[in-house]
């Protein structure tokens, strides 16, 4: 069996007004960690959203294959069941829907797709406690509305918690590190590392090299104006930190 998990070929996507992704090529193998960096507005969030199936973007060209299957035919929920997870740059608040109900609904939908019965209340609680521990979340968060009144850092921890509950094959983490203090950054990174196995993969979108001290990437890509203009090893992050992007863009 091939060890390629995700293959993106010449992907182009647009909104009504403009083209944002202008021919992305990306191959991710099982067990790899990729980092995507790049200036503001270059299309990083758009790429992750298109991979997760956001319908407000139109894919005009190219292919996305996930374990060899055509992802473009699948709805966002089907992609989630297939094993894709998107940690949002700006997690959404859902007042009146508790964190516990939200994640329970999600977990049980996943189980349904695998022909498994819903978890019992006790099993679910045990799992939830364990996974909240991964990211140092207090149990009081479980009865609060999803992300409602959470601080920036708490929202990001909640994303990682949800990821831990769903155990995806491919996690796309869009600036999960922004807004985190040093301690929280370490906690979140530890959470990711706990979930890391040699058959799952991560794409971390970040502006800062400091995250990559904790989550060590195999490859770093620079996305600029809708295309990947450079891919290199983890040393690239340090160089970007020192020199910015201009030297890559102008090359």
């Amino acid at each position: 069996m091939s060890d390629i998990l995700l293959e993106v070929k010449n992907l182009r996507a647009r909104t009504e007004d403009k083209e944002i992704l202008k021919g992305i090529n990306l191959t991710i193998r099982k067990g790899e960690i990729h980092a995507i960096m790049g200036p503001n507005g270059s299309g990083k969030s758009t790429l992750s959203a298109v991979l997760a199936g956001k319908e407000s973007y139109t894919v005009t060209d190219g292919e996305i294959l996930f374990e060899g299957k055509n992802l473009l035919e699948l709805s966002p929920e089907e992609r989630s069941w297939a094993g894709i997870f998107l940690g949002f740059q700006y997690p959404i608040e859902i007042p009146g829907v508790t964190n516990v109900n939200f994640i329970k609904t999600a977990v049980n939908e996943h189980r349904k797709m695998k022909n498994l019965p819903p978890l019992s209340a006790a099993e679910f609680l045990k799992l939830m406690r364990e996974r909240m521990n991964y990211v140092g979340m207090d149990s009081s968060f479980s009865t609060r509305g999803v992300n409602v009144g959470f601080s920036g850092g708490e929202k990001k921890r909640n994303e990682i918690f949800q990821m831990a509950m769903l155990e995806p094959k491919l996690a796309l983490l869009d600036e999960t590190d922004s807004g985190l203090d040093v301690d929280a950054l370490r906690i979140v990174a530890n959470g990711v590392n706990k979930l890391k196995r040699d058959d799952n993969s991560f794409v971390v979108i970040t502006h800062y090299q400091r995250l990559l001290d904790y989550i060590v990437p195999d490859v770093i890509h620079v996305l600029y104006n809708g295309t990947i203009i450079k891919s290199a090893g983890k040393e690239l992050a340090l160089e970007i930190e020192e020199r910015g992007y201009d030297w890559i863009i102008n090359n």
Binding site: K54, E55, P95, G96, V97, F102, A106, E109
Partner: protein
């Protein structure tokens, strides 16, 4: 405390209600008359008394097929008696004497599929320091028209919390007139209308701050599907001497279908100069970003929409102070939003 009513927990021949809680007192008002009597509903809670339990008053419209002959050999009969029975004017009275406390749940139902027209007047008087928590649940069928006028008077330091849950009904109109006649009165009005098909639901509020230092807060929400319509008219009046009044009002509408019609009209008439008044209205659709967030976690589109509707309704339903009742009413709202009501012709079954 007057307590000359017969409470029954089960009138199986009429209706079995699943809302009641342990300890709740149930009372049926059938076509405007308290069960087994010739009187309209009237409650007086005496000075300083507290009703020990939630009292649930179940208003039912029903035409017993034994009384009215509807058809002979399959041909409908024009029966004037039947016509008279379909139209009903009725009245209820609640008097909360000084310092008294009560929690009430009013439910209205239509048990037979006749074209009922109900005109109802509800007088509510809170004397000084009285507290009343009143939930009004309306669940009638699509051919029923129900107009209710609530005339409310609030004296000093009294608190009224009133929550409307208009779950189902052909044409529902709630006219709410509140007169705040004693200082430091507090009036909390909340309402949720869930309208679909051809249903029409209206809420008209006249909130009159007649004396200084009173507080009022209105939150009315509507969800509309299909060709339904809702109206919200909300007037806040602050009299010239009613300084330090605080009056808040919000009306939020969520439309699920382009054919639905929303009208919303806030109106402020303020004659005092030292007041806090605030009103706002919104009309919105399902939020795509929120749906995507939920779907990206593997929640189906259908379920994500339901969660979003529940989220929209939550600040109304979650404000119900009795936990067990909150849970029951939440289940009813959820059932309604899941479309489970349309499976039954007789809407009363939905509370079972």
């Amino acid at each position: 405390m007057r307590d000359n009513y017969i409470y029954s927990n089960n009138r199986a021949n009429l209706f079995r209600c699943k809302v009641p809680l342990s300890g709740a007192e149930q009372l049926f008002v059938v076509n405007g008359k308290v069960q087994d009597s010739d009187n309209s509903y009237s409650l007086v809670v005496e000075k300083g008394c507290t009703l020990p339990n939630i009292q649930q008053v179940i208003y039912v419209r029903n035409i017993d097929s034994n009384i009215a002959i509807r058809e002979i050999d399959g041909v409908p009969v024009e029966d004037s008696r039947l016509k008279d029975m379909l139209k009903l004017d009725c009245e209820s009275n609640i008097l909360m004497k000084e310092g008294s406390n009560a929690k009430l749940l009013f439910c209205s139902h239509t048990l037979s599929m006749d074209e009922f027209e109900t005109d109802e007047l509800v007088n509510i008087t809170l004397e000084r320091d009285a507290n009343l928590d009143l939930i009004i649940m309306q669940n009638e069928h699509n051919k029923a028209r129900h107009r209710a006028d609530y005339k409310i008077s609030l004296d000093a330091n009294s608190t009224l919390t009133m929550t409307f849950l208009s779950l189902h009904g052909g044409e529902i109109t709630n006219n709410i007139e509140v007169n705040m006649i004693g200082e430091h009165a507090n009036c909390q009005l909340k309402g949720l209308c869930l309208a679909d098909k051809e249903q029409s639901m209206s809420t008209n509020v006249k909130l009159n701050h007649l004396v200084p230092n009173c507080y009022s807060n209105q939150l009315f929400k509507n969800i509309l599907d299909d060709s339904s319509s809702t109206n919200f008219f909300g007037r806040i009046y602050v009299a010239k001497d009613a300084q330090k009044s605080e009056a808040l009002q919000a009306n939020h509408n969520l439309i699920l279908c382009d054919k639905s019609k929303v009208k919303t009209k806030p109106q402020l008439e303020i004659y005092a100069d030292d007041v806090i008044c605030n009103h706002g209205a919104t009309i919105g659709k399902i939020n795509e970003d929120e749906l995507f967030y939920m779907r990206s976690r593997g929640i189906t589109l259908h379920e994500a929409k339901i969660l979003q509707l529940l989220s929209f309704t939550s600040d109304i339903t979650n404000s119900i102070t009795t936990d067990a009742l909150k849970e029951r009413l939440n289940i009813l709202v959820e059932k309604r939003l899941r479309g489970e009501f349309s499976n039954n012709n007789n809407c009363s079954k939905n509370c079972c």
